[in-house]
Structures are given as C-alpha cells and as structure tokens.
C-alpha cells in the first residue's frame, strides 16, 4: 500500500498559464480549437515548458474474469474473456487495429482470467486468481487481493514511465465487468443503481433488470465503505479494475499523462482519484461512453472527453482514438508559427 499512497505532485498552475499563452500566440484565432486546446494546454503543462514531446505511447489492456458472471448479467458467456485475450495477442481485435493506427504499443495483462493462457511476448501474466468470487454471494476478493491488484497496475505504469513513454492509456476486458464498474460508481457517488446501469455488451431489458437486482443485492450485502476505495474494490470490484486504478496512480506518480477509456476504466479512475485527489491533473477522459455510469467520473474531472460516439466496446478503443486527436494537437503546439514569426496581423484592437 505504501507505494501508491505516496504523494502525487499537482501540475504547476504556472505551466498551464505558459502553455495557454503559447497557444494564444499561434497563428489561429484565440481559442479556435475549442476543447482540444484544454487538452493540449494540460498535456504541455504536465511535460513542462520547452518539453512538449509526444513520441512513445503505450496502452495496457487489463483482463480478468468476474464471478458475478454466473448471475447471467452479460450477453456473452464467460469464456469470451479468455477467447478475446487470445484474439488480442493474435492481433484480431479492434484495439489491435486502433493501437496500430495510433502507433501505441499494446500490452495485455492477465490479472485473473479463468483459463490457462499461452506464453506470448505481448501478454503479461499477473494472475491473482481464476476470476473474482461472485459478489452477489460473497465479497469479490479479500483486502489483500485488492491491494495486490492495485500494486501490479501501479508498478506497470511506473516501469513504463521510467522507460520514457510519453503517454499512457488503459483498457479492459472481462465478461461481467460493467456490473462491477456500475456497482463501484454507484457506491462512490451515492447515485441509485437503476440510474447508472446500462446495457453493457448489449443486454435486453429483462437482463438489465436482473443486473440491477444483482448489483443492489451485492451492495446491500457487503456495505462497501465509499471513503475506503480499497474496501469498495475488494467487495464489488474486479482484478482488472484494481490494476487500472493502480495504473492511473502510477502514471500520476510518474507525472505521466494517462488516458481513461470507458465505464470500466472510469470506475477504476474514480477509486484512484479518491485515493489520490491530485491525480486529477494527469487524467484525460478519452470518450463519453454509452454506459450511463461513466458520467459519475466525468463529473469529477476538469477536462471534457474529446469523443461522444455512443461507443461501448472497452479494450482501450476510445482512449486510443482520443490519443490520435491529442497527438495532432501536440504536433501543432510544437510546430505552428506565431503571429510575429509568420508576419500575420493580430486581431483588431477595437474588438
């Protein structure tokens, strides 16, 4: 626990002012790139004046199974988690194509897939157990397992940042994990489950009602303590969610910007942010997911998501798409002429 409770340095306000001043001096009407400018300024401020590099990018995809899948909360059978991990390492999933397009290195992390997976250079085995326990009947994991999940993600982000990566992103795979993420976001926000539960991979009304009932039952049974994110993670979380929480904290502790994906990584970021409020300065929300629960985290952040496309795939796909937009923005931040260097007249002083 000690590691990921070390203080995270907030980003210097002075750096943000300098980055905004630089943006305002480039040959475009002030603020004309809209919300993208907020992202560019925050990114440049994290990197510090004169150092706004965005070269190496990495996305980590954390996979795990969920005992609660036996409550029939998902449209897909549990074995799809392992099948999709094999698909990731074979290069056949959406995240493979999108990470390839974005130029981001993809690493898949087995945090607890209920299957024996092969050795592969892009698959890290960090299996804590063969999936969590069924939270509808007992806590998903014990406190030690929750801390282990956090530590694994934290270390992975720290190591990658120390290796010099400029930008990180986290994605997920785990049948049943919108159930867990919705439970976390309901507990952390106090908002009722029925207002937050979505359709996950595409469940019908009856399955969604069952999912709501299962989440409410788990929360009522275990009474997770919203002031203690490790308690919440252990009782209704998942191994991949814990790892993502630790990953976000590790990124912040390394002063490395990190992209959040959809509702699963939003639930992880919500736990991380409660443990480490200064982390907020390093979190970039890739997109607004179709899952209603994702708004709980978005309401906590200063930056708005760049994309709002009703995506609900996970894997880090929304994060990596936003990565492309940010990279274009960083490129213009570094390359564009200023009004004086290009000899372009500034705005009329009267207006």
């Amino acid at each position: 626990m000690q590691d990921f409770l070390q203080p995270i340095q907030p980003v210097a306000r002075e750096n943000i002012k300098k980055a905004r001043a630089h943006l305002d001096n480039l040959t475009k009407p002030r603020g004309s790139l809209g919300q993208l400018e907020d992202w560019i300024a925050q990114y440049a401020a994290i990197k510090g004046p004169g150092n706004c590099t965005l070269e190496s990018k990495a996305v980590f995809l954390f996979a795990a199974d969920h005992g609660v899948a036996e409550e029939k909360v998902s449209a897909y059978p549990q074995e799809v988690t392992a099948q999709m991990v094999l698909n990731f390492i074979s290069g056949g999933a959406a995240i493979n194509s999108l990470a390839g397009y974005a130029g981001a290195e993809l690493t898949v992390v087995d945090m607890g897939v209920k299957s024996i997976l092969p050795h592969h250079p892009s698959l890290l085995s960090k299996k804590i157990a063969d999936g969590t326990r069924n939270m509808a009947r007992e806590p998903a994991m014990d406190r030690q397992e929750a801390e282990t999940a956090l530590s694994i993600g934290y270390q992975l982000a720290r190591e990658k940042a120390q290796a010099g990566v400029d930008l990180l992103a986290a994605g997920d795979m785990g049948i049943g994990n919108t159930t867990s993420a919705t439970a976390i976001l309901s507990v952390m926000s106090g908002q009722p489950v029925h207002e937050l539960a979505g359709r996950g991979t595409g469940i019908d009304d009856a399955t969604r009602q069952n999912k709501i009932r299962v989440i409410e039952q788990a929360i009522n049974m275990h009474r997770p303590d919203a002031t203690d994110p490790v308690d919440v993670l252990g009782k209704v979380g998942g191994f991949e969610i814990g790892a993502m929480s630790g990953f976000f904290i590790g990124a912040g502790a390394s002063s490395t910007p990190v992209l959040i994906d959809g509702v699963i990584s939003s639930s992880a970021a919500m736990l991380a942010l409660t443990l480490q409020p200064n982390l907020k300065d390093y979190l970039f929300p890739g997109h607004r997911s179709a899952e209603p629960a994702s708004r709980v985290l978005l309401d906590q952040l200063d930056l708005s998501p760049l994309l709002d496309l009703e995506m609900r795939l996970g894997e880090g796909t929304g994060a990596v798409m936003a990565m492309c937009l940010l990279e274009g923005g960083v490129r213009l931040y570094n390359e564009m002429a200023t009004f004086s260097s290009a000899g372009v007249s500034e705005k009329n002083s009267a207006q």
Copy 2:
C-alpha cells in the same frame, strides 16, 4: 454548368447492408463502436465490397477575399487572408500540422485572394478576381463568376479522384467568410440571420450585431432565390465557397467520399446538395462547429459529425481530425478477426 449537373450515382443500399453485416461479424459486440460504425459502413459501401481501401488522402484549402470585409464584420483585417496563405505554404498553420499528422496531402487554392501571391508547388492559382464585391452594396459576383468557381472546384476533385485518391476533404480561408456562409445558410433554410450568426474568429457583441445587420441588408437587397443555388452563391457567396461546392459535387461524381469541415464548407455543401441531392451519400461531416449556422447542413445529412469540440478555426482542421478517426475505423474493418475465425463465442441466443 453541364459538367457539375451530370447525375451522381447513389450508393447501392446493398453495399451498405453488406458492410453492416461484415461489421456485425467482427469480434466486438454488435454496434459497440457507436456512430463510428455508421461512418465505416458508409465509407465501405462507397468503396464497394472487398475494396475498402483508405491509403491516399488529400485536403484542398480554398482561399479568397470578401468585399464585405469592409463592413467590419470580422475581428481580423482583410490582409490576414493573404498572410495566412503564405503561412500555409510555409507550413506554419494548424492545418499543416494536422494534415501532416493525418498523412493527407495539402493543396492551397487561391480562388480570389486580394494580393499577389508567390509561385509555390503547393499553391494553385485559380484567382477569379481580387476578392468578391461587397454584398452589402452589390451582388458579391455575377452568375458567370459563380459558375466558374463551381467549375474550378469540380475539376480539382475530379482530377484528384482520377489520380486515385481514396478520401478528400475541403477547408477554407477568407476573412469575412462566416458572414457569407451565414447568409447562404439563412437563405437556403429560411431561418432568421440572428439565430444563425456566430462569433466567427471571435467578434464582440456589437460587431456581431453589425454582422447580422449587414447580412440582412444584403439578403433584402438582392433577394437570392433559394431554389437556384448558383443565384445564391453569386449574390451572397464567395469564390472559395463556390469552389468548395463544386469540389463536393466533383467528389460525388467520382464516387469519392469527401469530408466537410466547419460552417464555410457546410454552406458550400448546402448549395451542392441542393444542386445534387444524391451527393448526400458521399458527404461526411467532420465536426459540429461552434458556429450556429452549421447545424442547417447537419440537419440535412444522415451521418452525424464525429467531433463536437466547439472548434471554429476552418482551414479543414476539423475535417482532417475526423479523417484520422475514420482511418482507424477503416483499418479495423479490414483487419479484425470474425467470431468464427477467432473462435470467439457469439452472444447468448436468449438475449
């Protein structure tokens, strides 16, 4: 005129069904990429089964001056149009960085900049006149000039498509051109000017009120005929807007998908769509601009814009950012495994 009134072939509905069926067979929950899937399906349908290439991309940036600039409708002086053209060919503008990131070839077209511009390999001189006339006092151009502008854009798109480019985009530069675009979109939609006029490059309330008055005066004076887009273009349009209209039609006539940028290209697309209703199948709206008038065109299209970032820069910047997202999407359409090829279980039949 004959050329750009030749029929445009609608995209075969059968192709769209096939593209959607392919998307549904890929290893992701059905529809889980949200609105991006609509874009991918439309793009794949245009290209035809087995031929969904997206390799070469080109963005054309049409520049011209507007006589109405003398009515003080912009935050910037008129000479900025020429200064920015020099900036484009020197590589110092936002579009240079973003087109570079997207891998799109950039061509700047002088349609009527009020300045003598140097020869440069990436600058095409198609100057019709030294800017339009002031529409607040007389028609911006005569009908012959309007048809010439349309023809130039049409030919450029046709030539580029014949050279084998997969995807086109159009952007603009012209001080005063949101005044012209807003006039066009008001005439074509019948919506009042004061509901459509925005802040352009960043004008204050008094300047915006003046801009509304100028547009209303021009419309009342010239009475453009909304059923005759060439008449509207001539009376309240711009040379770059006419070229962009022709460019969109040329793309459609070549069965080549083309990206719309902000409010200027939206006004051009509105004229083009009225001349050629089947063009709709080839138009991809890059983003929702901060300019209220852009919604007039978006309401006519089946596809939603991929970005909504309150951008108001022009130059093709929003179009090129959306190009990146589409390219990522096309890549996964071509690369992803299917459920059967990857051995991934499909959705439970009960749901």
